[in-house]
């Protein structure tokens, strides 16, 4: 059956051949090339569409003769296996970076960050955290800085722009600005004991 050579198979060492009569593409190794001959496109009307389609590509208009035995098993057993990956995994590999501003100067120009900063200041004012006073001459003063973080949802979409005003705690002097800084946390034993009691008494833990 005559056909047109259109290229090479991606998955096996074979030729891709188009048969205009059957309008089918086959992958075969059993071909004889007729290098001098050309395909006569004029005789079949229904091939017009296809010839348009193939114009852009490099098509060697070689007419071939031969029996196109399909290399069924052989040609498909080494096709690449494509697994699925979670979106999270892809994001992790694809170097998607979210820029967070370094300081106040940088953040001022972004409306999202500016809004978040205003909210944080509002919160501080609301809690009456500080009061503006004259600078006492002999006291140590400590700077503050802004921390900007983009909080993501589990599916890597942006949840919110979080801004915190933090104190540069390292500038504090022990004994002058602070003395005791320890605060207790619950031990694992305590937490487990709580569960023991709750289970025994049939209580629920919240």
């Amino acid at each position: 059956m005559p056909g047109i050579f259109v290229g090479y198979s991606d998955v096996s060492k074979a030729y891709k051949v188009y048969h205009p009569q059957t309008q089918k593409m086959v992958i075969t190794r059993d071909v004889h090339f007729h290098e001098e001959k050309q395909w006569d496109w004029g005789d079949t009307q229904r091939n017009v569409q296809l010839s348009d389609l193939l114009q852009d590509e490099f098509v060697d208009n070689l007419q071939i003769m031969g029996t196109a035995d399909l290399l069924q098993d052989e040609s498909f057993d080494d096709s690449p296996i494509k697994g699925t990956r979670s979106l999270d995994d892809i994001y992790q590999r694809s170097n998607v970076a979210i820029c967070e501003p370094e300081g106040n100067e940088e953040a001022k120009h972004n409306p999202e960050w500016k809004k978040a900063m205003q909210e944080e200041i509002c919160m501080i004012e609301k809690n009456c955290t500080w009061e503006l006073v004259d600078r006492p001459p002999s006291k140590n003063f400590i700077g503050v800085k802004w921390i900007f973080r983009t909080k993501l949802n589990a599916d890597s979409t942006i949840n919110k722009y979080k801004v915190r005003l933090v104190v540069k705690g390292y500038a504090q002097i022990y004994g002058v600005d602070y003395s005791d800084i320890f605060a207790p946390v619950a031990g694992m034993d305590t937490i487990r004991f709580l569960f023991v009691v709750a289970a025994y008494r049939n209580w629920k833990v919240f």
């Binding site: 955290t129 009061e131 207790p184 031990g187 937490i191 023991v196 709750a198």
Partner: protein
């Protein structure tokens, strides 16, 4: 004192993030509130608060800004939660199901705790998720010493691994012995120690979902033991 502004400064009345005393300030604040509202602090555990109302009790355990609440009267628990939400702008996460890397399953007359997710994370962290599981955490007759002739391994990695295993012992008493023996060699880990540590990980791999189950029992007696 904070933030210069020419000759003006802000005087801090309350703690701000990053301040050295911030955690303590928070603890002081919540301690004041809890003791002020009738809770009694445990003498030996500063994070355990108990309140008795008539015949009912309310127990609270504090973990910085996470609170575990339980009690005999469900109405009182709800009331307390509502109170806390108003005073501290806290959110109610409902029935406890995940706390400090611990999965908690509460059903009728039993509470089951495990660290399945955490176990998987450790296995991934130390690239052990493809190893074959073993049935036991350790060989019975293994003896270890500081100098066993094998080369030293990366101390940092070993320490990190032991740290992870120690945290896992919270719900896995079965690896406690093996982990505690290995933790004696934190300062001089050798290849043999590392191999044994990895064996524990392989054991974990096959037993990820193990945990501790607390059942309601008929009579709970607390036994104390003294060593002379």
């Amino acid at each position: 004192m904070t933030q210069e502004k020419e000759d003006k400064v802000y005087i801090l009345k309350k703690a701000l993030y990053g301040l050295k005393q911030a955690p303590r300030a928070w603890y002081g604040r919540i301690d004041d509130y809890l003791t002020g509202s009738g809770f009694q602090k445990s003498l030996s555990e500063a994070t355990l608060y108990v309140k008795r109302i008539n015949d009912d009790v309310l127990i609270i355990s504090l973990y910085v800004d996470d609170l575990l609440v339980t009690g005999s009267n469900i109405v009182q628990v709800a009331e307390f939660k509502l109170n806390m939400m108003q005073v501290f702008e806290m959110t109610d996460l409902g029935l406890m199901s995940f706390f400090l890397e611990m999965e908690i399953m509460q059903s009728r007359e039993e509470i089951f705790i495990c660290q399945k997710k955490y176990s998987r994370e450790i296995l991934k962290k130390f690239q052990m998720d493809n190893y074959k599981p073993t049935a036991t955490p350790m060989n019975q007759k293994d003896k270890f010493s500081k100098k066993d002739g094998t080369t030293r391994v990366d101390e940092e990695k070993f320490r990190s691994l032991i740290g992870c295993l120690l945290y896992l012992t919270a719900t896995r008493p079965d690896i406690l012995h093996a982990t505690s023996i290995l933790s004696r060699f934190m300062h001089c880990p050798t290849e043999i120690h590392m191999r044994v540590a990895k064996r524990i990980l392989r054991y974990i791999k096959g037993t990820c979902s193990f945990g501790v189950k607390f059942l309601k029992c008929q009579d709970l007696k607390l036994h104390g033991f003294f060593l002379q």
